[in-house]
């Protein structure tokens, strides 16, 4: 079964993150908080697309749903 820790590793491999948190224990549904400098200048759709891209093919079969909140380091520090 896919663990939140695995999803976290997959995201971290494809995207440089300042902060990354993944939760979820049913193997299919996960929740993530992703903070990355790479999000600067990107809109929210593009930011989520970058996380999906890091997960690649895994989004098609292994992961049913990934609920996420994305932040730039700046917007994260103001949160």
């Amino acid at each position: 079964m896919l663990r939140a820790e695995d999803v976290k590793i997959y995201i971290a491999q494809g995207l440089s993150c300042d902060y990354l948190e993944v939760n979820g224990d049913d193997g299919q549904h996960f929740e993530a908080i992703v903070v990355s400098k790479d999000f600067i200048g990107k809109n929210i759709v593009q930011q989520h697309q970058m996380v999906y891209k890091a997960l690649g093919e895994r989004m098609k079969d292994e992961i049913h749903a990934l609920s996420m909140k994305t932040y730039t380091p700046d917007s994260w520090s103001k949160k």
Binding site: I44, H48, Y52, S67, M68
Partner: protein, 105 residues
Amino acid sequence: MDVQETIKNQVTANPVVLYMKGSPKFPQCGFSGMAVQILQACGVKDLVSVDVLADPAIRDGIKHYANWPTIPQLYIKGEFVGGADIMRDLYEKGDLQKMLAEIGV
């Protein structure tokens, strides 16, 4: 007709289109159900929805159309707006209501 063309026609022929699992009355997934509830809370009546479970070609095609791997997907005036998370964020900020009001929905 090519499936990408079919999708393009669907999203441009209607001001608001939701690609979802199931129907607004009987959503087959919690995220699709939440998307419907948000649009209803915004006052959208006669929501145009496409049940991706009823058409495997659309289900696969829509993921490529907006380079977005998950369902639901919301389109306003032919533009991809986002999935369930983004819809909720926009709704909580009041932006989704504004976007819909601008097009008179």
